[in-house]
């Protein structure tokens, strides 16, 4: 995008604010959905239908005392939440929101997403270590082992997508999924590589530390895990980063596997309504379609959390190393063989 730099900065600022507000809305959404699932009303006191509850919570957290434990390392103790929030908000800027509407458009965006999410491991590990408390340390260790284990399967499932589309640019990956005419949504990568899509969604749960992979903060055994020793807004920052992370993860799932900002049957729609092409309305519709798809996956994240019980640690490691990693590896080899035979035998285009 060839915009002047101050416009890029302005849009980036707007996106940071959008994700700040969306984190609050997601907290409300999660509490309401969990309420429905457990047959209770959920938050319903602050504002109409309890809608202002998360904003009240933020105000409360800001005015709480910021406790720094005597045994902790103060600098790293403060650095960890800053790192988490920074990484979460930066990853958000890599997502293409509509055709021609992406802030950070590089040739290697898909790789950058993986790189940035792996820096989040440092945030969790540093938080656990610097608190100098046994619960925090155990939570941090478990979390770093879990996140690096699932990163491999995640990288390999993205590799399958890269193999199919031949590009690491997220915009190219989205445009590649645009199926012609009536084939519409069948061009989405989820239909081209269903196993990779499934592995990516499972690993996205593990990378964002969401249930059933929430061992780092297993309340029943580790109190709060890596953020046991955090209070006030520093705790709030971990909370914010968690919600932004899982919303961004839903966006990345949609971008890689579910057609990103593309409308379903976009080609057919455009040939039926030629006036729509290159119009502002199309851009708005694309943003809406991306948001709807991402909201659906955010709902899946919440749904799974309130339905499935937590793994045991050894089950988690077995799943990551002995099942997901070999399956993802075999999947890549399978697609490479398929493309080679296709070229050798001269099938298709």
């Amino acid at each position: 995008m060839d915009l002047p730099l101050y416009w890029v900065a302005l849009i980036g600022f707007a996106i940071i604010n959008f994700f700040l507000v969306s984190a609050s809305v997601l907290v409300y959404y999660e509490r309401k959905v969990s309420g429905w699932i457990q047959n209770r009303p959920g938050p319903n006191r602050v504002g109409p239908w309890g809608f202002l509850q998360p904003f009240a919570d933020v105000a409360k957290l800001i005015f709480k005392e910021d406790i720094s434990p005597t045994a902790s390392s103060p600098f790293i103790h403060s650095l960890a939440p800053v790192l988490m929030v920074t990484i979460a908000m930066t990853t958000a800027a890599l997502i293409p929101f509509a055709r021609g509407f992406v802030i950070v458009d590089t040739e290697v965006s898909a790789l950058l997403v993986l790189a940035l999410t792996s820096i989040a491991v440092y945030g969790v590990t540093l938080a656990g270590w610097s608190s100098n408390s046994k619960f925090s340390l155990l939570g941090g260790l478990r979390s770093s082992a879990q996140m690096i284990s699932y990163e491999l399967a995640m990288g390999l499932s993205v590799l399958t997508v890269v193999l199919i589309t031949g590009s690491l640019r997220l915009v190219d990956i989205v445009e590649y999924q645009n199926g012609p005419g009536a084939w519409g949504i069948l061009g989405w990568n989820v239909f081209r590589a269903p196993i990779a899509a499934l592995i990516f969604i499972v690993t996205a749960f593990a990378e964002t530390n969401r249930a059933p992979f929430d061992l780092p903060e297993a309340e029943q055994e580790l109190v709060g895990g890596y953020h046991t020793e955090y209070s006030g807004m520093k705790f709030g920052m971990f909370f914010l980063a968690e919600y932004v992370n899982f919303f961004v993860a839903s966006f990345v799932i949609v971008t890689l596997f579910f057609g990103g900002y593309l409308l379903p049957w976009e080609d057919a729609l455009l040939s039926a309504l030629p006036g729509l092409k290159d119009s502002v309305l199309l851009g708005v519709l694309q943003v809406l379609s991306l948001l709807l798809k991402a909201a659906f996956f955010a709902f899946v994240f919440i749904w799974v959390r309130w339905t499935l019980p937590r793994f045991k640690y050894q089950q988690l490691m077995t799943l990551g190393w002995k099942m997901l990693l070999p399956i993802a590896l075999a999947n890549v080899v399978l697609y490479a063989l398929f493309f080679t035979f296709k070229a050798l035998l001269g099938w298709g285009g």
């Binding site: 900065a9 600022f13 406790i67 005597t70 296709k342």
Partner: protein
């Protein structure tokens, strides 16, 4: 080429600015009434026993080491994945050769993973 990364650095700066603002807000706005018990490490209400900077299970190091090996493997595979279908459209025979080279690389690493699993390096 490098110019396309400038918005990324801008975004990192703004995101860090937000995080820093929240941190300062946390420091300035809240009350400050620390006492010895409040700032003690939390251990279910009892006085902390010993230190948390203790030795921990060697399994975590093993996982980290195996991770490095496979992560580097995945990174090596990305350039191959980007260009593989181009090779195939240019000449299927050349593509087959490229696949063979990558196949040997993958086979060696898969053998390593099988060896590690058989040796019990990933038992918890």
């Amino acid at each position: 080429m490098l110019a396309s990364f400038i918005p990324l650095f801008l975004q990192i700066l703004m995101a860090a600015g937000l995080a820093y603002t929240l941190l300062i807000a946390a420091k300035k706005l809240g009350p400050k009434r620390p006492n010895a018990v409040k700032t003690m490490a939390y251990e279910s209400g009892m006085d902390p026993v010993g230190t948390a900077r203790d030795r921990y299970s060697v399994k975590f190091y093993l996982v980290a080491m195996i991770f490095i090996v496979f992560d580097v493997e995945v990174v090596f595979l990305y350039p191959w994945a980007v260009t593989f279908r181009e090779f195939l459209t240019r000449s299927p025979q050349l593509g087959l050769f490229v696949l063979g080279v990558v196949g040997v690389f993958l086979a060696v690493l898969t053998l390593g993973l099988v060896y590690d699993i058989k040796k019990g390096g990933l038992e918890f």
